[in-house]
Symmetry: C2
């Protein structure tokens, strides 16, 4: 059985894509077989792995709208142990078309369950910055929702909508959906960051990963070369912190 | 006649909301009468002006779906010369419902043109981080699209989709739509930021505002108090840079 993770936050620019890429690569270093799924019309995860989204014919859209088998659009990447179901801008159409299908929220879940056994230990899905039909599909198919969050006012406020979407998905199709909040892009020297981080710690307690991802400009550079941080700068702060996140996640998954 | 501006970028977290709020307040300081419109289900612009989005009954959704008159949901704010049409999380429904209306892309344009004369010099619309039905409505109703952009790889790549949506809206309902790119959250000490800023300058030339908005943590603090930067820290770098943006914009608008 594969463990399925959605990486989602309605708030934009909180490191959803950076987390999907870096965490996926760090989990592969631990010997796990990883499937990344790009569900964002921006196709940043696809781009960060060195693909040209505009030139791809088969993407996650085939699975969402045409019921293509999950692994049809799947491709190997330049990261050992990591495969990708890519995206391109066509995914935007799914937001308008999916709701006309009956049971549209379970299309991804059905596609994942239809492949038995699935040759992956973990599936990580990068979601767009919205709570539309595509994100609902990902949450319905997931065991765990990881919510990357900046320690800033708008980002902290977005957790309110994220908690209500978790309640909604649990009451409809996926009662066992768990969540974990990941603090990203933290600048320990910044007073607002420190204050809001403390507030999130008090409010969410165990709902927060212990691992913190701090600001590291090497994380901005690595997608330019089509490499995850673990290969671009293996000893950078970003690489070390995403490795410790991978270890913390595996402890959480294995105790479940 | 009011001059209508959409503030949009598919890329998340590039300071769309911060620009709508700060630029709106700086234009009011120049004596202009400003209407801000929050079109994002995150309702960050509404929140940053001190409102509780969850408690509002009348929002921009009334205009988009129920053809309410433009000024029905309009409210005064604690910023002299700035009124607001607020949002709450219900706006997310518009993404799925709007496309079933005939001519759904011109609903906002029709609502704005129906009020004559409109008591505002400029209308600024804060868009969600997507290119769905709501953003298309805003672009169709606009004279100018301002595209806040970070000098980072994913953000620069998003300009490709932004240019194609501008071409699409010009060919369908709004042939005169102009655009201007605004560099935001710039860290002049950061090599990636400097490199990508230079590339954008070479590629877009006059398509870029001359004014640059640099990193200023005071811009993160001001929404916590429900105040724009021009009132929270009037002499901060952020306040000064958004004031010079307001002046550059008015020179552009008046020469048109
Ligand atoms: N820890 C970090 N330190 C510095 N920069 C970072 C860090 N994490 C991410 N970034 C940069 O911040 C920007 C936002 O990150 P990213 O694009 O991954 O966020 P996102 O949540 O996927 O955005 P969107 O909502 O548009 O999908 C990117 O330019 C990325 O390179
Ligand atoms: N110049 C700046 N310096 C420092 N922080 C900034 C600056 N501009 C914006 N910010 C902060 O960066 C974050 C992202 O900005 P903002 O929320 O305005 O972007 P957005 O494009 O509206 O995001 P979304 O895509 O989620 O709507 C916010 O926490 C904001 O306070
Ligand atoms: Mg992303
Ligand atoms: Mg915003």
């Amino acid at each position: 059985m594969s463990y399925v993770i959605a990486i989602s936050n309605e708030k934009g620019g909180v490191a959803k894509t950076t987390t999907a890429l870096s965490l996926g690569a760090a989990l592969a270093e631990l010997g796990r077989k990883i499937l990344l799924v790009d569900l964002d019309p921006q196709a940043n995860l696809t781009l960060a792995l060195g693909f040209q989204p505009g030139s791809l014919e088969h993407t996650a859209l085939d699975i969402l709208l045409d019921s293509a088998p999950l692994l049809d659009p799947c491709r190997e990447t330049n990261v050992a142990g990591v495969d990708l179901i890519p995206a391109n801008s066509g995914i935007e159409n799914a937001e308008q078309v999916l709701p006309v299908y009956i049971n549209y929220t379970t299309r991804l879940q059905t596609a994942i369950q239809a492949v038995d056994p699935l040759p992956y230990d973990l599936i990580l899905m990068d979601c767009p910055p919205s709570l539309g039909a595509v994100t609902i599909n990902a949450l319905t198919a997931s065991d765990l929702l990881i919510i990357p969050t900046q320690a800033e006012y708008f980002s902290a406020y977005a957790l309110r909508d994220m908690m209500s979407i978790v309640r909604q998905v649990r009451s409809e199709d996926n009662p066992n959906l768990a969540y974990r909040i990941l603090i990203t892009m933290l600048d320990q020297r910044n007073r607002t960051h420190r204050n809001i981080h403390e507030q999130l710690d008090r409010t969410f307690g165990d709902g927060l990963f212990k691992t913190l991802i701090e600001i590291d400009t090497k994380l901005r550079e690595s997608p330019i070369l089509g490499l995850p941080i673990t290969q671009y700068k293996p000893n950078s702060r970003g690489a070390l912190q995403y490795r410790s996140l991978a270890e913390e996640l595996m402890q959480y998954v294995e105790q479940k």
